[in-house]
């Protein structure tokens, strides 16, 4: 094992430790770390996709598998590493210029980044528990960085849910150890059999992970936490952190516990997903707060991911994994599309809050009229979020549609297709007023000589604050043209 994989985990953890202790130097430490991480990710990708190294199992400490902790790198883990890295870098670039970024942010998220990388690589149940706890604590702290009223309560709620979810996960791990006496996922896949304890353990773990992902009936914490966190934190939490627990469900469901999946659980997940889409969209439509709108939209978008999970878990679904192309990997693009878009949207919301010092949707609208780039980011982002064709989300959705039809679950077409319309509807609340004549320069204060002063517009912000969200959102469109490139070059 060359140095890249440990480096991807160790560098942010060490740098994060230093950044947390020496806060004044935090942003410079972060800059250096970010560059280093970028180089390592590029090298990893070149090696993995060019030469074909790296893929597969790595055991740590020089011991054999059931005794040692194992890491496992495949296409999915690799793509997730890239996604986490690139989105983190983008959001950190934004935070660099955001005047309200706290000193604490750098060290905290570097730790979160390291935790996520460790989680993505890990192939050991208990090790995953440790990483998920680290990530959870960091995420809660990020929410609590906000000085906004109610942020502490939101963070507290998040912490309680997150910890409870972890405890469920831990209980599941205990039961699995009791039954099989091993913790490594690869080994478990060989020995897992149908019995009550295994089913119970898997259900309990799934329940915990669903709570951490904010799946429908357990979603209550998310709009509060993501809505009240500081801008960069909201973006990171919505884009990346909830994906970690989703990734685990995916990993476990098609890995060690693939034999346990049945149609009941698939149906249940699909129902949860459908409810999430409808309920999340409805609340996004009703809320008067900008960031809560975007956060509720995350709840709705998780619905798609759950439907994807339902399809993966359906024993009927034939996963036609050819040598070149595993179609279920298209679900990753749904994750990526949501991560990139949602990060962009939260950052735009942050811009608007910076400009107006208000969290109310109605106060933001006037700025939009005078801010074309912001408006474009929102517009492209809304369409991308709706998953219309030619965006990355559509690639993932297309797989959902094809699979649900192939499974005979025609009713899933309703949430899948209507969800996009709902998205446009609630995002339209932001977009439409930008065209309203009456709002133009409404906020312009009069100067002493009676002439209107300059309107509040995006021009008052540093350009990176505008560029980062725009690039994030634009990448969803550009990537949509090359969805197969990384691993499908032979296709």
């Amino acid at each position: 094992m060359t140095v890249l994989l440990p480096g991807l985990v160790l560098l942010p953890l060490i740098a994060g430790g230093f950044a947390a202790l020496f806060r004044q130097q935090g942003r410079w430490i972060t800059l250096a770390t970010g560059l280093g991480m970028l180089v390592m990710l590029v090298l990893l990708s070149i090696d993995a996709w060019g030469v074909g190294q790296y893929q597969g199992l790595w055991t740590l400490g020089g011991w054999e598998r059931p005794l040692a902790i194992a890491w496992y790198l495949d296409d999915l883990a690799h793509l997730m590493l890239l996604l986490v890295g690139l989105v983190s870098l983008a959001i950190m670039a934004y935070a660099w210029f955001d005047t309200e970024t706290s000193d604490h942010f750098w060290g905290l998220w570097l730790g979160g980044w390291g935790a996520m990388n460790a989680l993505l690589l890990s192939s050991d149940l208990f090790n995953i528990y440790v990483t998920i706890e680290l990530l959870g604590l960091v995420a809660v702290a990020l929410v609590a960085l906000s000085t906004k009223a109610g942020a502490a309560a939101a963070a507290m709620r998040y912490l309680i849910i997150s910890l409870t979810g972890s405890m469920f996960f831990l209980l599941g791990v205990a039961l699995i150890y009791g039954q099989y006496g091993r913790l490594d996922l690869i080994g478990l896949a060989e020995v897992v059999e149908h019995n009550w304890v295994t089913h119970l353990a898997w259900s309990i773990m799934l329940l915990g992970l669903l709570a951490k992902t904010a799946a429908w009936p357990l979603h209550g914490w998310l709009p509060l936490a993501h809505g009240r966190a500081p801008t960069a934190a909201s973006a990171l939490l919505s884009a990346l952190v909830i994906k970690a627990s989703f990734y685990l469900m995916w990993r476990f469901g098609v890995g060690p516990f693939a034999a346990l999946s049945n149609e009941l659980i698939a149906m249940l997940l699909a129902l949860l997903g459908t409810m999430a889409i409808f309920w999340g969209s409805w609340r996004a439509w009703k809320t008067p707060l900008l960031k809560e709108l975007i956060a509720w939209s995350t709840v709705a978008q998780i619905g798609y991911l759950l439907i994807g999970l339902a399809i993966l878990f359906n024993p009927q679904s034939i996963l036609t994994v050819s040598e070149q192309f595993n179609p279920s990997l298209l679900l990753f693009w749904l994750i990526a599309a949501h991560a990139l878009t949602k990060a962009g949207l939260f950052l735009v919301a942050g811009n608007l809050i910076l400009l107006t010092h208000s969290y109310q949707l109605k106060d933001q609208l006037a700025v939009l009229c005078n801010s074309p780039l912001t408006l474009w980011t929102l517009g492209l982002g809304s369409v991308a979020l709706a998953g219309l064709p030619l965006t990355l989300g559509f690639i993932g959705k297309w797989w959902l549609i094809e699979s649900s039809v192939a499974l005979g679950q025609f009713w899933l077409l309703a949430p899948l297709i209507l969800g996009g319309v709902f998205t446009l509807a609630y995002m339209g609340r932001l977009l439409q007023p930008a065209f309203e004549q009456r709002l133009l320069c409404q906020y312009a204060p009069k100067q002493s000589d009676g002439r209107p002063a300059e309107c509040i517009s995006e021009r008052q912000l540093a350009w990176p604050l505008l560029a980062v969200p725009f690039i994030l959102v634009l990448s969803v469109w550009v990537l949509a043209l090359f969805p197969l490139y990384p691993w499908g070059a032979t296709l």
């Binding site: 208990f126 440790v130 706890e133 604590l137 809660v140 702290a141 609590a144 009223a149 109610g150 502490a152 309560a153 939101a154 963070a155 507290m156 709620r157 912490l159 309680i160 910890l163 409870t164 405890m167 831990l170 209980l171 791990v173 205990a174 039961l175 150890y177 009791g178 006496g181 509060l224």
Partner: protein, 100 residues
């Protein structure tokens, strides 16, 4: 019925009790203690499984040691957060009601 069976059942009961505390009790201290009791219950299962072997399986012991430290870290953060919630809430009451 040996001691392992007893502690398996006790662990399960404790886990559900802790969950009850998290869900049913309003005060954050109760919720935090509930989470910790859930964790201890999971540790109990781990150690009960470990005690089946002769000598006792060392891996769960190590896992639980790690788990205890994780639990105290989480508890410390939770308590600090609870104090802030209490300070920010109007009646100095550490519950989540005002965040609805």
């Amino acid at each position: 019925m040996n001691e392992i069976a007893i502690y398996l059942i006790t662990g399960s009961v404790l886990f559900c009790l802790g969950l009850w505390g998290v869900v049913m009790r309003e005060h954050l201290l109760h919720k935090i203690l509930g989470v910790n009791i859930m964790g201890s219950a999971a540790f109990m299962l781990f150690l009960a499984f470990a005690a089946r072997a002769e000598p006792a399986d060392a891996v769960p012991h190590a896992l639980v040691l790690t788990g205890i430290v994780v639990a105290i870290s989480a508890m410390a953060l939770a308590l600090a957060l609870m104090k802030r919630v209490a300070k920010e809430s109007e009646q100095h009451q550490a519950t989540l009601e005002d965040s609805q």
